[in-house]
């Protein structure tokens, strides 16, 4: 007998396989969404509100440290997977020098970032500004996740429920316990179960009963002596 998926008890709960698939969809969607979210580099998030080194007594070493810190939050346009602090490309070296010069002039960090964005665009920031043009980048992964969940629940869910409710093939035979019987067969089974021994022949004679053997033997599954 070929194995087949047994439906749930009432035909409404999805099978274990479908439950696992739905959970897998959810987890993968969540991972994709989280991975695609434009996470900032740690330094970009930790922007200090303290006024920058604008006092004349600021030491060059402090400015150097500040330059490095700001440069670490900006992406090198030439070596595109490195920050301006890490990259040794000519442009990165120039831009670090420019950051140092701007700090010496007393510019604040946000002014320096605006200076860079004005010349090199959003790409130089690790975290793009939220604008109508970048809304798709920011919210797209979550929109895709919501879409995936909606598909899972409205398309896969009812399909699973429908599969569970589908009646079995019409060639189901009594005596085979893994096949669901039709109504007539169920009624016959009930009569057999609840009837006293003397009225078994009545149960066999009632409509819906399978054709009885000519010998009148009540239980066709008993082996002949």
């Amino acid at each position: 007998m070929a194995e087949r998926l047994t439906p749930g008890a009432h035909g409404r709960t999805p099978t274990p396989l479908l439950r696992t698939l739905r959970l897998l969809c959810l987890v993968m969607g969540l991972l994709v969404g989280l991975g695609a979210w434009p996470w900032a580099s740690p330094d970009a998030v930790a922007q200090t509100a303290v006024a920058q080194t604008s006092t004349p007594s600021a030491t060059a070493a402090a400015r150097d440290a500040e330059t490095q810190r700001i440069a670490a939050t900006l992406r090198c346009v030439v070596c595109q997977n490195q920050s301006i602090a890490d990259s040794q490309s000519g442009l990165a070296i120039d831009l670090r020098g420019q950051i140092d010069r701007l700090l010496a002039q007393g510019r604040t960090e946000s002014e320096i970032r605006a200076y860079m964005v004005q010349r090199y665009g959003d790409y130089i920031l690790y975290q793009p500004t939220l604008r109508p043009a970048t809304a798709l980048l920011w919210f797209g992964p979550f929109a895709l996740l919501a879409l995936g969940l909606w598909v899972a629940w409205t398309v896969v869910g009812p399909a699973a429920r429908r599969a569970a409710d589908t009646p079995p093939p019409s060639d189901a035979r009594p005596g085979h316990s893994d096949m669901v019987a039709d109504d007539g067969q169920r009624q016959f089974a009930r009569r057999l179960l609840h009837a006293p021994a003397s009225s078994l022949e009545e149960a066999w004679a009632a409509p819906g009963a399978p054709s009885a053997p000519a010998s009148g033997r009540a239980l066709p599954s008993e082996p002949p002596p």
Partner: protein
């Protein structure tokens, strides 16, 4: 049938989106200054450090800025086309000598020809930073109102020259 068509449609839409994404250049950095006022170009002339050159003189005209250097191989490759551009477009082509040695740059021009109206010398790359230069050669098209209308990063090819730059210049020149 309708139910099964929906995931298929979504998949096809995703396929189109990703397919379009494959045609884009992931390393391309869009010009931040596009349609903005061109930064002022004021520097010492390459040929004579005592002479100051400025882009103020070019106000009211369509002009091109070509960022180049004697150490840049791509600039050597495109140089004949820059000359061709200057000839056929009939607009001033200004050079920005980027992070280069003055003598080396002048020798380079003497060897390969000088199509430029004038050349600004930018030894530290500060002007380059103002113009958002991140690679050489780079060519900018500036309109009569001083706005940058187009930027081409990389050597000018005949396709770029005839397909993009010349039509744009002609339309801007009126």
């Amino acid at each position: 049938m309708k139910r099964t068509a929906l995931p298929l449609l979504l998949f096809l839409a995703l396929l189109v989106l990703l397919g379009v994404g494959l045609t884009r250049d992931p390393r391309a950095v869009p010009a931040a200054l596009l349609h903005q006022s061109a930064p002022p170009l004021q520097a010492a002339a390459l040929h004579d450090p005592q002479v100051a050159v400025t882009s103020q003189d070019l106000q009211g005209r369509v002009w091109l800025l070509n960022v180049w250097a004697s150490w840049c191989a791509g600039c050597r490759v495109e140089h004949p086309l820059v000359a061709e551009l200057a000839r056929s477009a009939k607009v001033p082509v200004v050079g920005l000598n980027y992070k280069d040695d003055r003598r080396a740059a002048r020798d380079w021009l003497a060897r390969h020809g000088d199509p430029y109206t004038w050349v600004a010398h930018d030894p530290q790359g500060l002007l380059g930073i103002d113009w958002g230069v991140h690679a050489t050669p780079t060519t900018y098209v500036i309109d009569r109102h001083g706005a940058i209308r187009h930027r081409h990063v990389g050597p000018i090819t005949p396709e770029v020259l005839n397909g993009t730059l010349l039509p744009l210049i002609r339309s801007l020149d009126g």
